[in-house]
Subunit: 133 residues, 2 copies
DNA sequence: CAGCATCCGCTACGATACTG
DNA sequence: CAGTATCGTAGCGGATGCTG
């Protein structure tokens, strides 16, 4: 068992705000927490493109991610019902990931987010450039 | 100067992935990083509702946030051109926050996110309930 | 190939106390 | 009222090595 990592659920990051407790807002915040995590969005963007993707395909598609993080984020997304995993009973093993039905419904939202991001004023895009590779 | 906190810019969480370097993807990732942070979305939702809001109004609206975090997140949002700050030269001081024009353009995206969040299957909403207050 | 296990640095976040 | 300063901590995320 890992010490801290891994299977913790943290809606909108670790301890949730007791924000409008009991109301709809609270649960919406919880649900949005599903998207938290450094690589979740990137992974989702990747899966939107190509229906089914193998673990190694995702690794190649996102060179900067470590194996640990890739698995961890995928597992959390799976646990939260956004992506699903297909294990092919073969040797060597083949595992494929894809979006669940609910996960696919994210598309419009992410599209809008992209549109917004691309509408960023030049000054802001400039300011956001982080030097050093 | 604070040790680590505060004025760090961390697109999509601290060190960005050298994901599709040079392409548009990279800068989109950077821009989306603007929304990162535990309270950013909550604050933005709050500001969508009521045009101008005072610091203390935000505090009251989001009881679980600490002063430090509220300021920090507001400052970052301000720096990134999403919210703006109006300081009224009065005693006692009055400061009001509101969305910039670009910030307002986030509305469709956040709307879609809400729609998605509310479309969560009951099983998932159930699973997301975190016990203990 | 897909994945766990483990050690570890770093930092985002929280709680508390103080100020103009 | 609207902040700043400081300290302590959880746990995210990286690197490396091992397994079926």
């Amino acid at each position: 068992m890992t010490r801290t990592d891994e299977n913790v659920r943290y809606p909108l990051r670790s301890k949730r705000p007791d924000y409008a407790p009991g109301s709809g807002a609270r649960s919406v915040q919880n649900v949005l927490g599903v998207l938290e995590g450094r690589w979740k969005l990137i992974i989702l963007f990747e899966l939107f493109g190509g229906r089914l993707k193998r673990f190694s395909e995702l690794e190649r598609a996102i060179p900067a991610i470590s194996q640990k993080m890739l698995i961890q984020q995928l597992r959390q997304l799976e646990r939260d019902g956004v992506v699903a995993r297909i294990v092919h009973p073969e040797v060597p093993p083949r595992v494929e990931y894809h979006l669940t039905e609910w996960g696919q419904r994210l598309c419009p939202a992410l599209d809008q987010l992209l549109i917004w991001a691309e509408s960023a004023p030049d000054e802001i895009r400039q300011a956001l450039i982080v030097p050093e590779g």
